[in-house]
Symmetry: C2
Subunit: 569 residues, 2 copies
């Protein structure tokens, strides 16, 4: 798409702006069809972003996009129109705001709820420096459930720096928005809530709304008024948009078109297996409950929620609360399963320690999207979970080798009785059931050799298996182990092995992961341990296999290392 200059926006007539919205929408649909990405949320905010760019003067004025699922129009209108077709592809532009990409992006986002805190921090710095510009936080109503948003609202009067909060209310997180805040906003939308207005006032916000956020005739004057008001105080502008606006297939299926993959996966999904096994278990075990934080469908739990509505809880984007809720239910004999993406579980880190493992309670974390996730980039890679779980007392961490083994672990977890974390990628192979024993590694292939490869999870095990196949023809072989528990380690198996060279593979940061754990066990034993995994970096967007390969997690690299060690025997 051609670059739109700010001057053009200023001079454009209303009908020209509407044409521009149409053009933007087409560009977004076309690009997402090719590259994947967040469709419904971006389609819903085209007019709103055009109006913001007309009324405000970016990058002097600054806008923080909460989560960032709605920044495509901003990218197209700022300085990335010509590169927009590279969206989410390796080396191309990111699907999220990125300061490193453009001066128009003032704050990186990806996780929910940071925008108001960020806007306040930028505005406070502005005031300390005695500069003059506007700061805007664009926040969806889904994030308004999140504790971080509330902490930021609470401090508006403390900080006393002017910001404009644009509340983009489409009634959805990824799942529909839920809870008390949602009802407050609904009352406001329906126009009978002086209490809601007073509530925002008590937090120091001048409430203004509701505005139809897909209608430029309403939006432009409302934003002009808000801009004027912002000279004197903090403003909350309540804008109502429709997710998927302008594309009937997206409007009618906003959950399904929230995130779109460029090509349908041909692989089986771990999330489906979770839903199937948990639903099956729960039929005979009334103590099983499932908890999610606004992502029921993508975690595979739609069926469970339908079958057991009284034992299924979507608490909104509230990762911390969900954890404590699980802990408490477990104190009363329930068996809570908390399904969540690896990167978002970081939000509940303290509660895993303080509430769940500190009390040694049988909560099972089903950690989806573990390892490199690909096109969403830095904020969505699940590459730290093994590291941040490895040192927590009382916690067991499992890494299934395929979906069949994942099913087995889920089934056995119901009688495990202690905190358990199971981490797995989005998709993989169903694979075969094999003998499973809790807390035991599995020897996948045993040979007389000086080399043992311990691999965690499907992706790494398949690298090991492929490398073995290739090396066979050269008469080189190694023992391959399914290292399916990070902790506790299978010390019996490790003790019994005599190989001099140990290679570990994991789809995780190296520091604090499986390689470190095995190396710690073998410390001072004379064994030589080589670990493949990720170094100290935030990994940008790209395809999973390419990102892994570049970091040495590939058949070729493993073959190289094995050959090198083989020569040194």
């Amino acid at each position: 798409m051609r670059k739109i200059l700010h001057g053009e926006l200023i001079d454009a007539s209303l009908s020209q702006l509407k044409d521009l919205c149409k053009e933007l929408r087409e560009e977004i649909v076309d690009t997402v069809a090719k590259r994947g990405g967040h469709l419904a949320s971006n389609l819903g905010t085209v007019e709103l972003t055009v109006a913001l760019h007309r009324v405000f003067n970016f990058p002097k004025d600054k806008i923080v996009f909460d989560v960032g699922h709605q920044c495509y129009t901003h990218k197209l209108l700022s300085d990335r129109a010509e590169r927009f077709s590279t969206l989410r592809s390796e080396g191309g532009i990111s699907g999220f705001p990125k300061r490193s990409e453009s001066p128009y992006d003032c704050f990186d986002t990806g996780h929910a709820g940071t925008a108001i805190s960020a806007a306040l921090g930028i505005a406070k710095a502005r005031d300390i420096k005695q500069e003059d510009f506007n700061v805007i936080a664009l926040v969806g109503d889904g994030s308004f459930n999140n504790g971080l948003i509330f902490e930021a609202l609470n401090s508006i009067k403390i900080l006393n720096s002017r910001i404009l909060i644009v509340l983009n209310d489409n009634g959805m997180s990824i799942s529909p928005t839920v809870g008390g805040t949602h009802e407050i906003l609904t009352d406001l939308k329906e126009g009978f809530s002086p209490e809601g207005i007073r509530l925002f006032e008590q937090f120091g916000l001048n409430y203004s709304g509701k505005i139809n956020g897909n209608n430029l005739e309403e939006l432009l004057p409302a934003l002009e008024r808000a801009k004027e008001e912002l000279k004197h105080r903090c403003v909350l502008l309540h804008v109502v948009t429709k997710k998927g606006q302008g594309q009937p297939f997206s409007e009618n299926a906003p959950q399904e078109t929230h995130g779109v993959s460029p090509r349908p996966s041909t692989k089986a999904e771990y999330s489906s297996a979770l839903g199937e096994e948990l639903t099956s278990l729960a039929k005979n075990d009334g103590k099983i409950v499932a908890v999610t934080a606004a992502m029921t469908d993508s975690l595979g739990l739609r069926g469970f929620f339908r079958t057991f509505p009284d034992r299924a809880f979507d608490v909104g984007i509230c990762e911390e609360h969900a954890s404590v809720l699980c802990a408490a239910m477990a104190t009363e004999g329930m068996k809570p399963y908390y399904a969540i993406y690896s990167t978002f579980l970081q939000r509940a880190f303290d509660e895993i320690i303080h509430d769940i493992c500190g009390q040694n309670l049988p909560v099972t974390f089903c950690i989806d999207r573990a390892g490199i996730t690909g096109e969403d980039g830095e904020t969505h890679q699940g590459i730290f979970d093994l590291s941040y779980l490895s040192f927590i007392p009382n916690l067991t961490v499992a890494i299934p080798k395929n979906i069949a083994e994942f099913r087995t672990i889920i089934r056995e977890s119901a009688s495990f009785g202690k905190p358990l974390a199971i981490r797995y990628p989005r998709d993989g192979e169903e694979g075969e059931e094999t003998d499973f024993e809790f807390l035991k590694f599995e020897i996948l292939h045993s040979t007389v050799s000086d080399i043992i490869v311990c691999a965690a999870g499907e992706r790494c095990i398949s690298i090991g298996e492929e490398a073995r196949k290739s090396l066979c023809s050269e008469g080189i072989d190694f023992t391959l182990v399914n290292a399916r528990f990070l902790k506790p380690l299978d010390e019996n198996l490790l003790s019994s092995r005599k190989e001099k060279f140990v290679i570990t593979l994991e789809d995780n940061a190296l520091i604090g992961g499986l390689g470190d754990a095995i190396s710690r066990f073998y410390r001072n034993s004379g064994r030589l341990v080589y670990s493949l995994g990720y170094g100290e970096e935030f990994i940008p967007h790209g395809t999973v296999s390419s990102l892994m390969r570049q970091r040495g997690l590939s058949k070729e690299n493993l073959i190289r290392i094995v050959k090198d060690l083989y020569a040194r025997r």
Copy 2:
């Protein structure tokens, strides 16, 4: 104190109850004088707890104490009266609720904001099991700033299980309560806020208040009414108490008597040094700002806040928000210093990764109360920070050897320009300034020997120094290194050393800490690495030195290991 039976409470006249309150207060004051502990908050809630025990039937009914700074009367009235004099002493009863201690404690707490989530989880399990009992969350107004509380409030209507929230409003966290929520509660206290009442209603709570929480005549009927109401819906009872009630010295200085030490420390405090250095720096550097989460005084920042009120921000118990605020200010060229206790920083784990290090922003974390903290027990030990910081890209982690070195690091940090975490214990020695170089270890004592000891932080270095002194007389010596940066490691120094035996000492969990980092660097080098630190456990209350010694962090243990290695040379 003698055990009070539930029957006695039921039968007691009002005047007998008042006498009991007097007796409880004396017991608390006497015990805290001997054992230390939370004084003002416990004195403020004597009548409230007596009334709760009279009206409800514990442990069938269940009460969750948010944070747990107000559980002493509960312990005295349930089953720990006779053991109360052992409060906070090793092997004695805990200063916080502990399920392992008594069936009257239904949920362990220590960090703020978990009580409503926990009460909801317990109530939901009750309903699933079709049991019948009351669930109460006792929450201070300070916690009402916290995001986790808000997330729980938001889900009351989703979960649809009845709980009683007793809001214990004394206008204080450890510092005075701040922010928008505080104003809403203040309006309610002053009796002119139908909006406040409606707000709670929209979250699904029937508001009732305000009640004088230090007056049994008001409390008893109010709790009876709330108990009745609770049969039908969720109730919030707004109780106003006075921190320190009944002891003028505590009433008049609630911050100073929030936490009381059994004996005044004879050591210097790191927090005082932080305040001094930061205040001094900020006089010449207008970009320096300080942020705390409701603990200004105990972090040494009272002076900074007085001197630079426009660059000092106490945002309440909002550890996550404080982090994002710092990140955002840093994007605008500010130099934020975020002072916080080690254990509470766990709450901001995701923000350290996602907002600060993900954007490589120059925020300095001043991590106080790192390592074992002693009498507060499991929930307050600062033994995980090295582990949870070790793998975060872009982050530098410093561990000063004494207060003088800490001062130097603070001074130099102002021009460091990258994310920096400095971890230190509560108190120690001022010590001497020595040559300091960023990212470099310091050789404290060099000798020709096969043994090198790398110690992190004052406590561990002093173990090393004392062991050396003792061993000298036996003609045994080792090189002693001040390992003052966990990351990046001083690889140049480590590469240059030739010692065969490497001993590491750290006041942190072993997994993911300094020992692992040095062992990783020396992996496959033929060196033998032995690490002292903490195993996989939650460490209960006791004195710092005793808890460390029991876990092998002692001069005697180091001497034993050195002698053993010496014999094996």
